[in-house]
């Protein structure tokens, strides 16, 4: 418990650094949110900037932002007048979160069994064929796999809609693309880690004292072998975030990734900051969850705290 508390406290300075870095970067972006094809009258622009607090010196703005952030207020959106950043993000976050979680689940459900299967018969076709595919999965970026899947399953076979959002069937292509890309390194990691663990003495001892082979495999070896895999889930989630930028624009999914990209194009400083903060918080918590899962699997880690 003390450990969780310490990790939570540790997040505060990290978030502050992220906010400060993003804040200054976002403000350094050339062009402001009120620059349009036809320039606004100077006094209108001044009024607008005053309303949004953009006329104050940057450190003051940053201070205000942090104080508001501590109260859960992400400020007003500039490009969506009358909406707060919290509302804008709130309307999109469900889409991205569900897409991300389904993809992550898919990646684990495909990657880990494939890795286990490959490690159970090393250097047979059961190992070579899937591992060949995972290598392809690592090298084919999501923005290539996505169009290929769309080409085959929606334009070729006509089974799935090529893009759009709304019903469960729209989920299939984006989630599969992201899931398959993430499953590939997971499968390789599972296989490598199992290969290492199964040559250890304690596995041989278990086998020698007559534990049934399947029990050795799943209870003794796999539990240990999964440690690096669980640790990898944190970085994998970060990969999913950057993948989602591309996937969401590819399949026309109204999620956070596209929100961030449009916010940059629109120079909507508040929205850029808001999305970055939400992403950072989500990733920090996912990493904490992965570490806690690791401790649950490995009593040695749990005791060292």
């Amino acid at each position: 418990m003390a450990y969780v508390l310490r990790r939570l406290l540790e997040m505060i300075p990290v978030l502050l650094i992220v906010v400060a870095a993003t804040f200054f970067l976002a403000h350094a972006v050339p062009g402001g949110p009120f620059d349009k094809d036809r320039p606004l009258p100077a006094e209108v622009k001044a009024r607008l900037e005053q309303y949004y607090g953009l006329d104050q010196p940057l450190p003051v703005q940053l201070g205000n932002y942090v104080v508001n952030l501590a109260q859960g207020d992400l400020g007003p959106s500039i490009k969506y007048p009358g909406w707060s950043v919290r509302e804008v993000i709130g309307s999109r976050i469900g889409v991205s979160a569900s897409l991300g979680l389904v993809s992550l689940l898919l990646a684990v459900l495909i990657g880990v069994p494939v890795g286990v299967l490959a490690a159970s018969r090393p250097n047979s076709w059961l190992d070579r064929v899937p591992m060949g595919f995972t290598l392809v999965g690592i090298c084919v970026p999501s923005f290539v796999l996505g169009p290929i899947l769309a080409l085959i399953f929606s334009l070729g076979l006509g089974w799935l809609p090529p893009c759009g959002w709304g019903s469960a069937i729209h989920f299939v292509l984006p989630a599969c693309t992201l899931g398959l890309i993430t499953a590939a390194p997971l499968a390789r990691l599972t296989r490598g880690s199992l290969m290492e663990v199964r040559s250890l003495d304690y596995v041989r001892t278990a086998r020698a004292k007559g534990v049934p082979p399947l029990r050795v495999w799943f209870v003794h070896a796999l539990r240990n072998a999964l440690l690096p895999v669980v640790t990898y889930l944190g970085p994998a989630a970060a990969g999913l975030v950057s993948g989602s930028f591309v996937i969401e624009s590819l399949f026309d999914v109204p999620g956070m990734g596209r929100l961030f990209v449009t916010a940059i194009i629109n120079r909507d400083v508040m929205l850029i900051l808001g999305t970055t903060v939400v992403y950072a918080v989500a990733l920090l918590f996912l990493n904490l969850a992965a570490d806690l899962a690791n401790a649950a699997l490995n009593p040695k880690v749990a005791r060292s705290r």
């Binding site: 993003t22 972006v29 290598l135 970026p141 923005f143 290539v144 169009p147 290969m195 970060a238 950072a280």
Partner: protein, 287 residues
Amino acid sequence: MSEPVVESLASESGWQRFRRDRAAVWSGWFLVTITAVCFLSPLIAPYPYMAQDLAHSAEAPSFAHWLGTDLLGRDVLSRLLQGGMISLCVGLIATAVALVVGICYGVLAAEVGGRAEDALMRFVDIVSTLPLTLIVILCTVVFGQNMPMIFLAVGGVSWLTMARIIRNQTRELKASQFVQAAESLGQSRWGIFSRHYLPNLAGTIAVCATLTVPGVMLLEAFVSFLGLGVKAPMTSWGLMIKEGADIMEECPWLLISPSVVFALTLLSLNFLGDGLRDAFDPRSSRK
């Protein structure tokens, strides 16, 4: 590409081990070829990469245009070569940036030791969990979409793994007897760094660099794919894939050729990196 470098650094037996790894050797040759062809593209490309020919726009591959033409009638093969030059440049230079930062940070952490070392490495752990793609995208927007900035931004977020590996290696070296002997003989820190650390780290660095290049190229492709990286009329493989994906129903060849070349290059880099690691890294755990 990195073969000559490795040859001079590696022991004979490691080099022989590498030669037996057929996939790695073929990957190496593929990379040498594609790099040479791309960097010679101003001389050997059949057309100038930005020459438009609207009378022959969006044509399928033919004898005049081996890989077809795009919507503005530009020759896809010529653009593929030019885009390859940009993508490979980003891959090499950004990796070099990551290499320099990673080595300095890793060696520094191992040298200072104690709580400062713990703090430095904890910082790396934390930063590597953050959404760094967002920062890269912001950087390219802030500092304009010019090439040096893309190199710096991409390299600036890719050094974390490198720092971790270098620090672990340096810690072992620091505790080794020959370094302690050099210390007791009064060699300066810089002397120990340049005479003892660097030569012993060279193999690790070569492997690490080869495995960093694909990640870096992917990142550039991501940014270019979102329309925030390389700007027209220049192109990169990421940008070509995006343009191809936009009209894949009508002109699939615009998507296929850059995707295939890009994927093959990344695949070769991974094979080469794995081969180098197996051959030269004594701690390699792959069996």
